[in-house]
């Protein structure tokens, strides 16, 4: 099984952001099925986590049960599709705040496809100016093609619409190639186990396997 987790920050229902997220998820799912990778897609609607995200931010990081579940999903994802509307020339505040309250290691080494929606194509560089640096900072592996969809891209048969389909296909190819090439998932038989993403989880894992850093090492060379 291959776990694909979609993070979507659209606010209305239905939102064009969710619409784009679903199209990308379908394209990625098709490609993984062709490779016998048995995809399982989970979608996280950030709107549903809105008050949890705010509370975590205002309490200095206290995670709610829902937020913890979302973080656990991301930590065990084989691939992530992150989609945001463009608000005021960047990703939405909700999208950014979600990543702000996660442990920074949660997406480490995870293949990620970035996508954004906006009213006009003039915002298209938001993918490379805002989303890509954010996810690079989180040490995710971001595929080269980002998918940007302006309102006009949803027009159907015109040139712009075909362009969107092509971009989705190319980005989906890149993401599924990357997932397939990852060490640890050659047989497609198992889900990547959740990585310890914070210092406490790492310490617990180290204690379980007997590799805990002894305190003498922290003490160093005082004389």
């Amino acid at each position: 099984m291959t776990r694909v987790v979609v993070v979507t920050a659209g606010l209305s229902r239905p939102s064009s952001t969710r619409l784009l997220a679903d199209r990308i998820a379908d394209a990625v799912g098709d490609r993984l099925r062709v490779r016998d990778a048995d995809p399982e897609v989970e979608t996280i609607e950030l709107r549903e986590l809105g008050s949890d995200i705010t509370s975590a931010m205002l309490t200095g990081g206290m995670p709610s049960a829902r937020l913890s579940a979302a973080a656990a999903s991301l930590a065990s994802a084989d691939a992530v599709i992150a989609v945001t509307p463009v608000f005021t020339a960047s990703y939405s505040g909700l999208f950014k705040s979600f990543f702000d309250v996660l442990d920074p290691g949660v997406l480490q080494s995870t293949p990620v496809l970035i996508a954004a929606t906006a009213g006009t194509e003039r915002h298209s560089l938001v993918l490379d100016h805002a989303l890509r640096p954010l996810l690079t900072y989180l040490r995710a592996v971001v595929v080269p093609t980002g998918v940007f969809a302006a309102t006009s891209d949803f027009g159907g048969q015109d040139e712009a619409g075909e362009g969107l389909s092509r971009r989705i296909a190319r980005a989906a190819d890149e993401l599924s190639d990357l997932v397939a090439a990852r060490p640890g998932t050659p047989s497609w038989g198992t889900t990547r186990s959740a990585r310890p993403t914070d210092a406490l989880a790492q310490a617990e894992a180290a204690e379980d396997e007997g590799s805990f850093t002894p305190f003498e090492e922290l003490l160093g060379h005082q004389t």
Partner: protein
């Protein structure tokens, strides 16, 4: 088991009146709170150290020295003493002096401090927070345990032939707690030395607290200080009580809604569900507090945050009376009833340590394993 109140002495205005206390009022209020703690039968008063507004207390030992003179059996502690930005030499001196003034009624809780700008004010850098805590505390242990210290480290000038005075009362260094919300190295530090571990879980869910405490307990056992369930654990808590729980909620809500740290965020209902905050009747507080032991195991010290969020002193003193007369007596009985015989009720105190084996872990700088390996290196 010990019960007490802890505070950071914040100058938060009363949101119902807009009135901010003066420094004079806040400082004397802390003394009144400590005296009330003794009067209503609580065991411990702990004060936090801060060097920035909106806090009033920058020198815990000055405040605690004054309180020591006005109390007889109250244990004086901190929440926390900054182990990062204080010179360990000054800490060794000041807390030993406080031991003598208080007749041994002192322990302290060490913490790193999470306000970046405070560090450079004291010549330090928050990025070295854990390294400072590790080096400074090891030196502090030596200063209390060795009459003459030669020392060289990374963060302060070397010491040659230095003797910290006064020597600890009866040559018994104060018991030390290490406080941390989520840093495993600090739980490890507490475990390594066989010191206490305090988790102030008032802003976090109990599941997280349980994980931190479990890690400390396992490492405590690893270093040979006893069984995991014998490790010395303290917890924070936060309560507001009235006979009728609806009255408690109505009175506390305006303070909760704008409180520092969590105000304007989760609702009172969400916060009471997800954190140890209990707003209700004394019986509800009793029931909730007893569940902490289910999560972290039987433990030795429970501290309550009462003085905060701009609550008037009269209300704080009233709350402490309810705590001391209606809640804590029941908690004492119930916690002991569930505690296995081999798990200590109390943390070590001066009285118990005076009679303890002078070759025990508390009187050594580090566990035997380290001394043996240091010997081998020579």
């Amino acid at each position: 088991m010990q019960f007490g109140v802890f505070t950071v002495g914040d100058m938060t205005p009363d949101p119902t009146t807009g009135r901010e206390p003066t420094y004079a009022e806040k400082v004397t209020a802390e003394v009144a709170i400590a005296r009330q703690a003794e009067a209503v039968g609580l065991d411990v008063f702990a004060i936090g150290e801060h060097h920035n507004p909106p806090f009033a207390i920058s020198s815990p030992t000055t405040l605690l020295g004054n309180i020591a003179a006005q109390t007889e059996r109250l244990l004086l502690s901190t929440s926390v003493t900054l182990i990062t930005t204080n010179d360990p030499v000054r800490l060794a001196e000041e807390y030993a002096l406080l031991q003598h003034l208080s007749g041994g009624r002192v322990d302290l809780m060490l913490g790193r401090g999470n306000t970046g700008p405070v560090y450079p004010w004291f010549g330090q850098d928050i990025r070295n927070g854990v390294a400072l805590a590790v080096e400074n505390y090891n030196l502090l242990r030596r200063l209390w345990r060795e009459d003459v210290v030669d020392w060289q480290g990374r963060f302060r000038t070397p010491l040659q032939g230095f003797t910290s005075v006064p020597r600890p009362l009866d040559d018994v260094p104060p018991f030390v707690w290490h406080g941390s919300i989520r840093t495993p190295e600090i739980a490890e530090q507490a475990a390594y030395y066989g010191d206490g571990f305090f988790h102030n879980h008032i802003f976090w869910n109990i599941e997280h607290t349980a994980r931190m405490v479990k890690l400390y307990r396992r490492r405590f056992e690893h270093y040979g200080h006893g069984r995991a369930d014998q490790a010395v654990v303290g917890l924070g808590g936060q309560v507001f009580m009235r006979k009728n729980s609806q009255d408690a909620v109505r009175e506390f809500r305006p303070y909760f809604d704008v409180a520092p740290v969590y105000g304007h965020g989760p609702s009172l209902e969400e916060f009471t569900r997800d954190t140890p905050l209990t707003v209700g009747s004394p019986q509800q507080v009793i029931e909730r507090t007893l569940t902490f032991a289910d999560a972290v195991g039987d433990y030795q010290r429970q501290m309550f945050l009462i003085d905060h969020a701009g609550l008037p002193l009269s209300t704080v003193l009233e709350q402490m009376e309810i705590l001391g007369t209606e809640v804590v007596p029941v908690l004492r009985k119930e916690f002991e009833a569930r505690r296995p015989a081999h798990v200590p009720s109390d943390p070590p105190t001066h009285a118990t340590l005076v009679g303890a084996d002078r070759d025990g872990a508390h009187f050594r700088v580090g566990p035997r394993s380290r001394e043996v390996s240091a010997e081998a290196l020579r």
